[in-house]
Every structure is written in structure tokens, then in C-alpha cells.
Symmetry: C2
Subunit: 225 residues, 2 copies
């Protein structure tokens, strides 16, 4: 069996891989998990021994198929929990992350299945992130793109708000940036700051690049094809 710490490493590597498509460096993992580099190195040794990562010393790691499956399993647990906590236990959008981040390592497969049943097999969590299916096949890359890649005048629909910080999420909700809402892009500054107006609010919001790049949006269906 894998420890919850190992699960966190695999999840972190998976998520870093989604962003870069390159081998993941020790320092990136260290920063993500808030541990020191030597700690990461020794854990990568263990994960390599167990066949969960492919490693080239000094050049970073990638997940093996098996490692990816474990990561997807943990992410499925996490996102199902987030969905369940908001739907059935009166949690707020902004506060679910921390709870799910602990519980994801401690629920049984049975619990996972009951939660999925209670939610009628959901496919996205409250932040709009896709929930991996029960078979743990690598999911398709979702459509849309970061809001930072659009231009003044574009009208888009928010698909996902992938930030994990409760205060940032509360702020976004207060300003009408949630999955499903329509945004009109007002300005994209050279340093990545995005200013937009939400269809559900009268004023506009400005998001620094660090926040904006977690907001994935898509062009509304009518404008496609």
C-alpha cells in the first residue's frame, strides 16, 4: 500500500505535468508540496523503486502508467468529495478544498462509490474541474483555454476556476467569477492582468496573471462551429 504522503507526491507530479508537458523537476515538486529538495529526492527514489515514476537523475521525473492511475484515483476522490461536501453538507465553494485534501487519502473504494451514487455520477467538481471516471483512464484535455489568452471584447463562459485558496475563491465568487457565468473581457494588460465584466454583476473585476491563469473559459456554443 501507498502512504498518503506518496499519494500527494504522485498527485502533485500529475498536476505539474498537466501544466508543462516536460519532465518535472525536483524543485517544482518541493515548492508544490512545501518540503525541501532532498526530501523530494529521497521520495522520488522510493517512487522509482515501486515503478510509479520514470526518473533520470538531475533531469526530473514523469509518471509511469501505474503512477498516473494512482494520481487519478486520488484526484477522483478529491473532486468527488468537493462535490459531495457542497451538494450535501452545506459547504461553500471556497472552503471544500482543505477538507477534501485530507479525506481523499482515507476513504475506501466503497465510500467513493456511495458518494458517486449520491451525486449521480458527476463529471465535474464545484470548481469546474473534471472528475476522473471510475475506470481511471486518463481523461481528455478539457476544451477552452486560460482567460489570459483572450482579447478585449471577447465574450466567454467560465468553465473552471482551479484556484485552491479559499480567500481567492471567495473573492472571485463575490465578483461573479464562477463556473457557468459569462464574462466580457475588458482588457488584458501586457503583464497578464485580465479585467472583465461578469454577466451577473454590474462592476468589473481585475485579476492578476497568477489568478487569471487558473480561470479556464470557453467561447459560448452559439459562436462556435
Amino acid at each position: 500500500m501507498l502512504s498518503d504522503v506518496m499519494e500527494d507526491y504522485l498527485k502533485a507530479i500529475y498536476q505539474l505535468q498537466r501544466e508543462t508537458d516536460e519532465r518535472i523537476k525536483t524543485s517544482a515538486i518541493a515548492e508544490e508540496l512545501d518540503v525541501t529538495s532532498p526530501t523530494v529526492t529521497s521520495m522520488l527514489d522510493k517512487l522509482e523503486d515501486r515503478g510509479l515514476v520514470d526518473r533520470e537523475k538531475y533531469r526530473g521525473v514523469t509518471l509511469t502508467g501505474e503512477g498516473e492511475t494512482v494520481a487519478l484515483e486520488v484526484i477522483r476522490h478529491h473532486r468527488l468529495l468537493e462535490a459531495y461536501l457542497t451538494e450535501h453538507l452545506d459547504y461553500d465553494w471556497a472552503e471544500v478544498h482543505e477538507e477534501a485534501d485530507r479525506l481523499e487519502h482515507h476513504i475506501s473504494e466503497n465510500f467513493e462509490a456511495r458518494v458517486a451514487d449520491a451525486l449521480d455520477q458527476p463529471t465535474v467538481d464545484p470548481h469546474g474541474s473534471p472528475i476522473p471516471s471510475a475506470d481511471l483512464e486518463p481523461p481528455e484535455r478539457p476544451d477552452g483555454a486560460s482567460v489570459t489568452e483572450f482579447d478585449e471584447g471577447d465574450v466567454v463562459i467560465v468553465e473552471e476556476v482551479a484556484d485552491r485558496d479559499a480567500e481567492v475563491l471567495s473573492y472571485l465568487a463575490d465578483h461573479g467569477v464562477e463556473p457557468g457565468v459569462e464574462l466580457e473581457i475588458m482588457e488584458v494588460a501586457p503583464f497578464g492582468m485580465v479585467t472583465a465584466r461578469s454577466s451577473s454583476h454590474d462592476d468589473s473585476v481585475s485579476l492578476p496573471e497568477s489568478v487569471a491563469h487558473h480561470v479556464r473559459v470557453a467561447v459560448p456554443a452559439e459562436l462556435e462551429q
Copy 2:
């Protein structure tokens, strides 16, 4: 903060104390938690350092007030989880224990409160065990007594079935021994085996002492006063 292992020790000591009223011996804890005596000794050192147990070397421990509060906290989590899993996630009476035994260490106070709300502040779990109140005051000793203390011909109501083994619990449910049912005692053998007939079933059940002493029953209200 306390580790989940420490929480398990405190819970075990609390529960052993409920049964004996004497100082709890190293070997009793070792057996309960399935570890060796030296392991228990060293953990008792740590718990004593933190003021959670009173210790006399070679003579066992008792919980301090603070230790008892922690134990009650963990037990509250456990029993709320058992109740929630059966009420809202379609778990069976018999299978909740294992899940609750892990999760009890990993839920937040917020989660505890939401679960208690969803259940409308329950006072007993599915096995009939009392759920400690949110203020964690030591609860009253529940009324009734082990079914082994009754005699042929007595008619009693099952108050609690405190066994933790899923197979034993399934067996008991199959034979009509659950909280709320009426039992007529048919025989109490000298070695503690109890034979009884459940009001909800036609045949009778025989329970060895080891099982029977977990079945707490009370005389029906009409016969009291």
C-alpha cells in the same frame, strides 16, 4: 496536535475504563490495539508527558480530564460518522465501523458540525451507543445492563449492540438482535451463553458470552417504575 495513533490509544483506554473501573494495564491496551507491550509502554510515556494520562509505573494508567476529553472527541466523531453513513450514504449497520474508525481522525470540527446538523443532533449511533455531546462532557452511564445479567423468562428491549465485528453484526441482524427489538430470554447457561427469542423472528438465537456481553438491554417501560 495529536497524531491519529495517540487518539487511538486514548480512545482504547477510555473504552477499557468503561468496562472495568480499574487502572488500565499495559497488556490490555496492547491487546486492544494489536501492538506489543513495549510499544504501549513507550506511548504511555508520551501521553503522560502531555498530561493526557495519569500513570503509576507497573500499575497501569487512567485518563486525565484532558485525556478523557480527547477520547470523547474521537468517539463523537466515530459515532456521528457511523450514523451519517447509515442514514445518508446507504451503508449497512454492519459495515460502518471500519470506515468510521479511519475517518474519525481526519475530519475537521466543521465537518463534524455539518454532519451533526444533517442528522439533527443525534444522540445514539446505529448500534445504540450514545454519541457524546458537542461540549464533550463525560456522559451518564446509559441505563440497562448486559443481557447476560437477566434470567429465563425475562422480556427486554435491546438498547445497544456494541460489537465491532461486521460478521457478528450481520449475524445478529439476521436473527433479529438489533437496537429497539424485544427479546424474550429463553436460557442463560452457566458459561454465559444466552438463548433468546426476538419478537421480530420465529426462531431463537444463542449467543456465546463473548457476544452476549456486548448486547445491552433494558426492561420495557411498562414494567418499570
